[in-house]
């Protein structure tokens, strides 16, 4: 369902998002001049380092004061200010269609907010929707003028057939060599696991932020009795006698699953955020994300 910006983000939230920016903990190298410090040495006013003068260096950057004290020529290096490349990877697998509201909608709104921040701060925004592979792509774009097109893209995202994090992330990493922040919004239900998939991102030095979106029905299921569970993505069934013990076991398993994901990401320098779709969206953006230091 196509969502207008007003449907994904209300005007008040958009107004408040104008004051915020996505935090990147790594200095990355952009393609264009921007508002973010870069690892590259450039012409900004931000001092970075000294190095010995080499013939051919721009004499404007000689530090004459040191030459006067030490009688040696040093070149002053300054940080380059470049744009930040932000990748929003949205899981559009069938499992994301569950919940009330649907997890996919919640993920779109989340992506809309984060993407709007990026566009506003002149960051380069790339949006990818994936299922068993990358299925839809947007960007790179920068500038607030692209926000309408961005919202339109989000609204056009259609669910895929199945999920393959590995295949999707592998393709993504190969086709997007420019490092940046990779925000993955997904439920991370993949029978092949998430470790190999994230390894593709970490290997290319992406700063990974994983936002796990789950619906309340998944967090606390209310099924009872002998039931057969049908997998939404694969033709898999599981017979289970749902009782207190089974529900307790599920709670433990879910907790272990989320905790395992968080630990894995933390161990590799990534970030993890758990979001339940019953959490008010504004609170998640303006409160939770700010407290977690993801935006400022």
């Amino acid at each position: 369902v196509t969502k207008t910006p007003q449907q994904l983000l209300d005007a008040d939230l958009i107004r408040r998002l104008d004051q915020l920016a996505l935090v990147s903990r790594k200095m990355s190298t952009g393609r264009m001049k921007g508002e973010r410090r870069s690892r590259r040495r450039g012409a900004s006013t931000e001092f970075a380092d000294y190095r010995n003068y080499m013939p051919g260096d721009d004499l404007r950057f000689l530090d004459w004061k040191i030459y006067g004290r030490l009688d040696r020529l040093f070149i002053k290096l300054f940080l380059e200010e470049e744009d930040l490349r932000v990748y929003l990877l949205i899981d559009a697998s069938p499992s994301m269609e569950f919940g009330q509201p649907a997890k996919l909608l919640y993920a779109k709104r989340l992506a809309a907010a984060l993407g709007y921040l990026c566009l506003t701060r002149m960051d380069s925004l790339v949006v990818k929707a994936f299922g068993d592979r990358l299925i839809q792509s947007y960007g790179p774009r920068r500038g607030k003028a692209n926000s309408a097109a961005f919202f339109g893209f989000l609204g056009s995202i259609r669910p895929a057939e199945t999920t393959s994090l590995l295949q999707s992330f592998k393709t993504f990493a190969q086709t997007n060599p420019a490092r940046g922040i990779a925000v993955v919004i997904s439920d991370f239900y993949d029978f092949d696991g998430y470790e190999d998939a994230f390894r593709q991102l970490f290997a290319r030095d992406f700063e990974v932020l994983a936002i796990q979106v789950l619906s309340p029905e998944e967090i606390k299921p209310g099924h009872q009795g002998d039931i057969r569970l049908l997998d939404a993505e694969f033709s898999l069934t599981t017979d289970i006698s749902m009782g207190k013990s089974a529900l307790d076991a599920y709670a433990r398993t879910l907790s272990a699953f989320c905790g395992g994901l968080k630990d894995y990401l933390g161990g590799h320098g990534g970030h993890f955020l758990f979001a339940s779709t019953d959490t008010p969206f504004e609170r998640l953006i303006l409160d939770v994300l700010r407290r977690r230091g993801i935006i400022k």
Binding site: S95, A232, R252, F257
Partner: protein, 614 residues
């Protein structure tokens, strides 16, 4: 266990179907979830953490199979022989007759075996059951009334003393019958060796349960003893003892005759299997005395190994012959020792003619009288109720005679030829001792004043006076009458009968065969007597004036002496059924099957829901 509807077992064939259905399984509601990734882990974890998970599933199947079995069990309508827990009244009849004194191979008597068995039954009485004990021999008495006190019952059983009496079961059955009518759930248990023969068709309210006691045992018995004074010398006695072997093994030994502890004679004897030996002794006995005949063969029963007889001192017989043509009779009487006689014509017979006469012989006298003495009627009939004469029968054949009867002792009627006789109808009390094919020829019966012997034909119209059997017959009559007189004086009685002392003014004492002395008590007739004649032997009655006499009691009962167990008892006209340990009844217990089914279903429901909520 039996089944009223065994075809229901065919439903067992549905058990495999049930198993199949179970595994094909319940239609589970299908619920779509985003992913089964975590649920699969949950299921794996639960399987790992709950090793009884499979068992739970199997438990449900097992419960369903059990429910099916319970339903099939109920459908088959099973029957079970169960103890009827109704309040039972056990009436135990214990035979303590002479045959129960037979010694079994392991040394116990049959009575002791029965007592042990009854004590066992008493010990096993259920809480609400009661039992009573009736001991019976020639009579019956309650040894213990209804009680649930096991100690009392054991003591009562042990207290039933052995006797030498013959068995009369009918009094015991009548007593039991009268008790049955006032009790709920009565049972009659009979403990006996079966030596009571057939009983009358008593209508008993319940079947008699019979426990045979003892095993076939060899036995030799004195079944008859007769002593009479010699015809030639009244100071001598002749003894006739019948010894019968009731077993399949021969016996041999010595038979000794004693007179008041003095040995008169001893003879060696041997008797083959199933044979009867007639042993004859002669001895000099001018005065009276108590004669004991005993043999020393080792057999199972002791009380029939001896017999006793009281021998009276010789008495003078005074005979009155009435009638004409009494030559042959007078000749016989003249040759008989110790007999005084006189003859009168029938026309001369008057009311006082028979005074001081012991025996009157009426020879072909029309309408003979019946004086208060012993009488012999030859060819004539006294006016006795039940005795009638019919038409004349010419040349009656001699068919049969009772050679065991004292009147026929030493007599052979083979050569007797009778020209004619009259048809005779006997009174109920009479015994025919000689019969033709058409009618009885000679009979004997007791009258108010003595005994009477009626010869239906006129001896003068036969060759009998010329035969040796005629004088023997007359003398046998005289001896029989003498013995009958003694019988009336109750000097020789059968064990089990009561003993009375008519005319005693003060209570006599009596010394029993076991040496104990007791004082006699008055019986319902107002005479002093002794009702407990339960042992064979000599009972000495001591009258108040210092006088006394002896009475002997003998068994002489072939049924009691026959210990080979061939008798098949029948009680109340029906063959007695074996003793049951307890009253049993058929009880259907399909309801139990239904209850089990309900219980299993309840358990299954609980198990199923525990899976859901626990």
């Amino acid at each position: 266990v039996s089944f009223l509807n065994p075809w229901a077992f065919l439903f067992l064939l549905t058990a495999p179907l049930l198993v199949l259905l179970y595994f094909l399984k319940l239609r589970r509601p299908q619920i779509r979830v985003p992913s089964t990734l975590l649920w699969r882990k949950v299921v794996e974890d639960m399987r790992v953490n709950a090793p009884f998970q499979k068992l739970k599933r199997s438990l449900l199947l097992l419960l369903q199979l059990l429910a099916l079995l319970a339903a099939i069990l109920a459908l088959t309508r099973p029957l079970l022989r169960v103890r009827d827990h109704a309040h039972e009244s056990l009436i135990v009849l214990l035979d303590n007759s002479a045959s129960m004194n037979a010694v079994e191979p392991h040394g116990q008597t049959r009575l002791q075996l029965a007592q042990a068995h009854i004590a066992q039954i008493a010990d096993n009485l259920a809480g609400d059951d009661e039992m009573m004990l009736i001991a019976f021999n020639a009579g019956a008495r309650a040894a213990c009334g209804f009680t649930a006190n096991k100690r009392l019952l054991r003591e009562a059983a042990a207290g039933v003393a052995p006797t030498d009496c013959p068995t009369e079961i009918e009094p015991a059955l009548l007593l039991a019958k009268s008790i049955c009518n006032s009790r709920s759930h009565p049972r009659i248990l009979l403990f006996s060796d079966g030596a009571f023969g057939e009983t009358a068709n008593l209508e008993l309210p319940v079947d008699v349960e019979y426990q045979r006691v003892g095993s076939p045992r060899p036995n030799l018995a004195i079944t008859g003893l007769d002593i009479r004074r010699s015809l030639d010398d009244r100071s001598r006695i002749e003894m006739f003892a019948a010894v019968e072997n009731f077993s399949d093994q021969p016996f041999a030994g010595n038979m000794t005759v004693r007179l008041d502890d003095d040995v008169l004679d001893t003879k060696y004897f041997s008797v083959g299997p199933r044979e009867t030996l007639s042993q004859i002794f002669e001895a000099s006995l001018p005065a009276g005395g108590n004669v004991e005949v005993r043999f020393d063969a080792a057999d199972a029963l002791a009380c029939d190994n001896a017999a006793w007889k009281v021998v009276e001192p010789p008495v003078r017989r005074r005979v009155l012959v009435v009638g004409e043509n009494t030559f042959f009779i007078e000749r016989v009487l003249r040759s008989s020792p110790g007999v005084e006689f006189k003859t009168v014509a029938a026309a001369d017979y008057g009311a006082g003619s028979a005074n001081d006469v012991t025996t009157a012989i009426w020879n072909n006298v029309p309408q003979p009288a019946l004086p208060p003495c012993d009488n012999i009627y030859l060819g004539c009939f006294p006016a006795v109720e039940g005795l009638t004469q019919g038409g004349q029968i010419d040349a009656p054949d001699i068919l049969d005679w009772d050679n065991a009867h004292p009147l026929n002792r030493f007599i052979d009627y083979d050569n007797l030829i009778v020209a004619s006789t009259v048809s005779m109808t006997l009174p109920p009390v009479a015994t025919a001792v000689l019969r033709s094919s058409q009618t009885s020829l000679i009979c004997v019966f007791d009258t108010a004043g003595g005994s009477a012997c009626v010869v239906g034909f006129d001896p003068m119209r036969s060759n009998w006076p010329l035969l040796v059997s005629f004088p023997l017959f007359v003398n046998n009559c005289l001896s029989f009458f003498e013995d009958a007189q003694k019988r009336r004086m109750e000097r020789n009685i059968a064990v089990g009968r009561s003993l009375s002392v008519p005319g005693a003014r003060a209570a006599p004492s009596i010394r029993l065969p076991n040496g104990r002395t007791e004082t006699m008590k008055k019986n319902p007739n107002g005479e002093y007597g002794w009702a407990d004649v339960r042992q064979c032997g000599i009972y000495r009655v001591n009258l108040a004036g210092g006088q006394g006499y002896a009475v002997v009691a003998n068994l002489f009962n072939r049924r009691e002496s026959q210990l080979d167990g061939t008798q098949e008892p029948a009680v109340g006209g029906k063959k007695a059924k074996p003793l049951h340990a307890a009253r049993e009844t058929n009880r259907e217990f399909w309801r139990i099957g239904v209850m089990i089914l309900a219980a299993i279903l309840a358990i299954e429901w609980i198990v199923y829901h525990r899976r859901l909520f626990v």
